[in-house]
Each structure stands twice: as structure tokens, then as C-alpha cells.
């Protein structure tokens, strides 16, 4: 089977070359409003980073694009067409592949079976799986991406987190995805493995895909991103091109910016003796001033009350 070919992305609204565009999208879970008025463009050959705290609505946003949930307000255009996906199958058929943080692969299945899951190569009138061919292609594709797995019959659960993410990305690229969505692919990884995944993101971008990169970590985002969107409580609070924002500003925005400075003020007012001066805090309370807050692997460290 050859990789899927989809219709070429059409130009929407004149100048943009969006493959996927959301306009004022909203999503409610019952009376919980998880997304409100979200406008977002995913363009070919660009990495669009979506940042935000826990509960900001990042997963909800992904699920709408991936066809797991439908949106209740606004519009979503895929290749210039207004779409409402009712299943992941529809989203996939439109060239959108999603790599979930934890649910991308079946752990006990072999590497090659996982690679071809949902896109198996068949031969003969009985529809027998072409196992040698699938193993061959899988091996070639992974080698191309620099992943070396000697035994493709190994259960995928025995591989490292970074290898699994890379296999999931390689699979999406091979099967002709136009847009690839990555849900916090580096959150559970060490520094070195994160680096490998980030390299793949760049490769996917250079291969002409539109990449949506969800992350907590502004450093990771800034390493590969062309475009940054910050979500807060279901709303877009920042939407900036790389030219318009520096890493420091992005980090500050991500860390809560002015709000945290206010918080620091408030706390100091409450009990001055117990709050350390901003410049001695490694937690990034005074982020707007340009001092880089230390953000841990999962982006959770460094944001919070000062430690004494």
C-alpha cells in the first residue's frame, strides 16, 4: 500500500496556507466550558506550539482535531473545508494524525504490528497480511529516522519512551499525514530522549507537515516552534509568531507573567518575613524582568510559591 495521498491544501481566506484552521471554536462538557472562542491556524511546514497549564484545554483542543470530540461553537476548516469529525477515522482520512502521550501504541504487540496498525498491507484474495513486506518497510522507515531496533518482533512495551514516541511519529509521516498532532511528547522523557523527539519534530516540519506541538515546556517549544499559542482556562491568551516573541517573554507568559508578580507582591504584603526577595528565588516569580525561571522536565517545577 502506498502512503495516503490527500487533496493538496487549498488557500483559505487569501494569504494563509492553513491546512487546519479553527475560528472561534468552543467546546462544553455539560456546563463546563473547556474551550471558548479559540482561533488557531496550522500551516504546512510550520510547528505550531500550544502551551498552557493543566486544565487549560490543550487535550480538549487536540481531541477536536483528532475526531474524538466534536466542537459546539465556531468553525473548523480542514483543507479549506468546514468539517465536523465524528470519529478518529474521519480525522485520519483527512490527513490528521495524532500521537497521544500515553495511548499511541498497544504495548504487547510487536513493533511492526503497531507500526502498521490500521494500515496493514494485504496480499492475495484472502487478504493475508504481507508480513515480510511490512517488516521490511517498518525497518526501513525506522532506520531512515535513525531508530535502530534489531528485532521488530519485540513487544513495543519493551522500548523506551522516546523510541515509542519516535515510532509513532515515523508511522504518522509514513502514512501520509498532512498534520501531525503531538500531545506532550516530551513530558515523560529525559533530556536526551526529549532531544531525539524534538529532532523528529523538526524532520516532520521539514518534510512539509503541519505540526501541532502541545507542551508545558516553553524551552522545548522555543527550540522548534514557528508559532506559539498559549491557552488559559480555555481561551487563547497569546498567539504570536516566533519573530514577535523572545524565549524570555514566552517563558514569562507561560509562567503566568503579571499574575505571578502580583502574587509575589501579595504574599510579601501578607508576611514579609517569610517571603524571599524575588532575585533570590529560583522559582521564577519575577519572570518578566528577564531572569530565566528554571522550568523542569515537565514544566511543572519553578512555578509556584517561593521556597524559603
Amino acid at each position: 500500500m502506498s502512503p495516503r495521498t490527500e487533496t493538496a491544501p487549498t488557500h483559505v481566506g487569501g494569504a494563509t496556507t492553513s491546512i487546519l484552521e479553527m475560528r472561534e471554536c468552543g467546546k462544553n462538557y455539560g456546563n463546563v466550558s473547556a474551550l471558548r472562542g479559540v482561533t488557531l491556524n496550522v500551516r504546512q511546514g510550520e510547528v505550531t506550539c500550544v502551551l498552557g497549564d493543566n486544565g487549560a484545554g490543550k487535550s480538549t483542543l487536540i481531541k477536536i482535531m483528532a475526531g474524538l470530540h466534536d466542537y459546539n461553537a465556531g468553525e473548523m476548516f480542514v483543507n479549506g473545508e468546514l468539517r465536523h469529525f465524528s470519529s478518529p477515522r474521519e480525522s485520519l482520512a483527512s490527513g490528521i494524525a495524532t500521537v497521544y502521550q500515553d495511548l499511541a501504541l498497544a504495548p504487547l504487540m510487536s513493533v511492526w504490528r503497531n507500526f502498521f496498525l490500521g494500515n496493514e498491507i494485504k496480499k492475495g484474495f484472502l487478504g493475508t497480511l504481507d508480513v515480510p513486506q511490512m517488516k521490511k518497510v517498518c525497518g526501513e522507515e525506522l532506520t531512515k529516522m535513525g531508530i535502530v531496533i534489531p528485532d521488530l518482533d519485540r513487544p513495543i512495551g519493551a522500548l523506551s519512551g522516546g523510541q515509542k514516541q519516535c515510532i509513532a511519529i515515523a508511522r504518522a509521516i509514513y502514512f501520509g499525514a498532512k498534520v501531525i498532532i503531538l500531545d506532550e511528547p516530551t513530558a515523560a522523557l529525559g533530556v536526551k530522549q526529549s532531544g531525539v523527539v524534538l529532532k523528529y519534530i523538526v524532520k516532520a516540519r521539514d518534510a512539509g507537515l503541519g505540526v501541532v506541538f502541545i507542551t508545558h515546556n516553553p524551552h522545548h517549544a522555543y527550540l522548534v516552534g514557528n508559532h506559539f499559542v498559549i491557552l488559559k482556562l480555555g481561551r487563547v491568551v497569546l498567539d504570536a509568531h516566533r519573530d514577535e516573541i523572545s524565549l524570555d517573554e514566552l517563558t514569562a507568559e507561560m509562567a503566568g507573567g503579571k499574575e505571578l508578580a502580583d502574587l509575589s507582591h501579595e504574599l510579601r504584603a501578607a508576611d514579609p518575613g517569610k517571603v524571599v526577595e524575588p532575585h533570590t528565588v529560583t522559582g521564577g516569580i519575577d519572570a518578566p524582568s528577564g531572569v530565566l525561571p528554571r522550568v523542569g522536565e515537565d514544566g511543572r517545577e519553578g512555578v509556584g510559591t517561593p521556597r524559603s
Binding site: A66, A106, R113, F116, G127, L129, R154, G157
Partner: protein, 323 residues
């Protein structure tokens, strides 16, 4: 990678050697047919049960569902005075419908299969008795051996033929064919790939476009098909069906699949392994008899074997993962 059925294979060889040593009649070639028949009575259901287990679910209603199938065929033919084959077809539809119902209830409610099929088990158990007594005023069906279509149906479902000194029951042939077909489907078709994925991680399978609900419902329907095969064999072997039959059998089928290397949590296992598991049962059942041991202890022996098999399988799997 070590295949999942390795543990069962070792177990089967151990049991075989044990009974060859301690039970002289076991060495008699003529008894091979009897051992195979005993195994087929378990194995035919274990085919469906193992695929279902690999797909991440199990079914507690299989034992009574086989009885339901036999009862349906007998009662429909007898009550309406129809050709036996009409009863056979209606039974097939009923068996598939029971499977579809189990699957549908599972995927729509999200309840665990343990609860869904436990419910079905009790419903069928009651219905088997209630409907039979209502129609025949008895706890068993009336013999349908003198009705139209009996001879041809019996020839299909319950003949015996000879290969050399060994008499082989038709059910044994069905069991082997069904095992081969199911093993092929599991390992060499895309549906098989989907079954493995759905059992391994259904959210992951859904995310890459596998029709998870359809796969689950289909698996339950295949179990229904196996129940129909067993039910038809029992009907045409004995010409009457006892409405209370089948209770407790569901665990034996599940055990055969587990001994055969199927993981109770899904995503891993083997149909051939389940067949070997059934063979271990068949050999044990007869071996104990032939050895002149007290058959009261049969179930204890099974329990020990189940635990041993699970430990061996766990060990084999750990070894495979650790490489």
C-alpha cells in the same frame, strides 16, 4: 520472541509422559480418539473464548449458551413440527444474537464483560429451564431423532469415522479446522491485528482508526458461533438436551485459554495455545480414569495445573519482554 503457547506445550508433554508412564491403557492407540473427543468438547469453545480473551474480554455465558443453542434447535423443530435443519438455522441466529447482545451491551454501557456476561449467564440459565418446561412439560427436550432432516444433520454434526484403528468424531475435525482458521485470522489478517490491538489498548486502537466496537461485538458473535457448534454436536450426539446442562463449563473454556497462554487482561495469547490447553484437559480427564486414580480429585488436579501453567506463562513472557 517466545510464542505464547510454549508454556502449554511444555505442560502437554509433561501430562502426556506422566499418563503414558502411570496409565497403561493410555498407551493404546485406539484411545487417541477418545482423548481427542474429550479435548474437542472443550476446545471448540476455547477457540472463540481465546480470541475473545486476546481481544480483552471474557464471557461467562458460554456454557449455558451452548445449551441454549441445542435447546433452541430441538424445541423449534419439535414444537412446530419443522425440518430439523430449520431448528439448526434458528439456533444459529439465536446464538449469534446472544453474542451480539453481549457485545452491544458491553460497548454501549462500558460495563466490564465480567458483569455483562454474568447477567447473560443467569438469564440464559433461567430461560433454558423455563422455556423447556413450558414447551415440553419436562426439564429435557423430547427426542427429535425421528424427525425430518435428522439423519443428514446428524451426519454433519455427530458422525464418527475411522482413521486406521482410531475412531474420530466429527467434532474433533471441526475443532481442528476452526482452530486453524482462527489462528490464521489472528496472526495473518488485519482483523487479527485489530483483535490484538483492541485487547492490548483499545484507546490506542481507536485513535489509529480501528473500529473497536465492531471488533468487540464481532468477537462475542464468534463465541456465539462456537456455542452453536457445540450445541449442535450435543443435540445430534444425544438427540435430547438437558436444560440444566452447561453450568460451570464456562470456566473450563476460560482455563483452557489461560493455560494456552492467553493473558486474562487481553492483548496477548494464542488460539493454538488454547487448543493445546484443551488437549491437556482431555488427556487429564481420561488419564486419571485410565490410571485408576480417584476421579473425585480431577478438579484439584486441574486447579494445580492452571496455577502451574500461569506461573510458567508469566515466566516465559517476562523472559520475552526482558530481551
Amino acid at each position: 520472541m517466545a510464542r505464547p503457547e510454549i508454556g502449554a506445550l511444555i505442560g502437554a508433554v509433561v501430562v502426556l509422559v506422566l499418563f503414558l508412564v502411570v496409565a497403561p491403557p493410555f498407551r493404546n492407540l485406539g484411545n487417541v480418539g477418545t482423548v481427542l473427543y474429550g479435548s474437542a468438547l472443550i476446545g471448540i469453545m476455547a477457540v472463540g473464548v481465546s480470541l475473545l480473551m486476546i481481544g480483552g474480554e471474557f464471557d461467562l455465558s458460554t456454557g449455558v449458551a451452548a445449551t441454549t443453542s441445542g435447546l433452541t434447535a430441538a424445541l423449534v423443530a419439535w414444537n412446530f413440527g419443522l425440518n430439523v435443519w430449520v431448528g439448526v438455522l434458528v439456533a444459529l441466529l439465536v446464538s449469534l444474537a446472544i453474542g451480539a447482545f453481549n457485545g452491544w451491551l458491553l460497548v454501549t454501557t462500558g460495563l466490564p464483560s465480567f458483569l455483562v456476561t454474568l447477567g447473560t449467564f443467569f438469564v440464559l440459565r433461567g430461560a433454558n429451564l423455563g422455556i423447556t418446561r413450558n414447551v415440553t412439560e419436562n426439564v429435557a427436550t423430547t427426542s427429535i431423532a425421528d424427525m425430518d432432516g435428522w439423519d443428514s444433520a446428524q451426519a454433519v454434526f455427530a458422525t464418527t469415522f475411522k482413521i486406521g484403528p482410531v475412531s474420530i468424531k466429527m467434532l474433533v475435525l471441526f475443532w481442528i479446522v476452526l482452530t486453524v482458521v482462527a489462528a490464521y485470522v489472528l496472526l495473518r489478517t488485519r482483523v487479527g491485528n485489530w483483535i490484538l490491538a483492541v485487547g492490548g489498548d483499545d484507546a490506542a486502537a481507536r485513535a489509529v482508526g480501528v473500529p473497536v466496537r465492531a471488533v468487540k461485538i464481532g468477537l462475542f458473535m464468534f463465541v456465539g458461533f462456537c456455542a452453536w457448534m457445540l450445541g449442535m454436536h450435543l443435540l445430534f450426539e444425544f438427540s435430547v438436551v438437558q436444560s440444566g446442562e452447561g453450568v460451570g463449563k464456562e470456566f473450563i473454556f476460560i482455563i483452557a485459554a489461560v493455560v494456552g497462554g492467553c493473558l486474562l487482561t487481553g492483548g496477548y495469547g494464542s488460539v493454538v495455545g488454547a487448543a493445546i490447553g484443551a488437549l491437556v484437559f482431555g488427556m487429564t480427564q481420561l488419564g486419571i480414569n485410565y490410571a485408576g486414580w480417584n476421579p473425585d480429585w480431577f478438579f484439584s488436579f486441574l486447579g494445580v495445573m492452571l496455577l502451574l501453567a500461569c506461573i510458567v506463562n508469566l515466566y516465559v513472557k517476562k523472559k520475552a519482554d526482558a530481551r
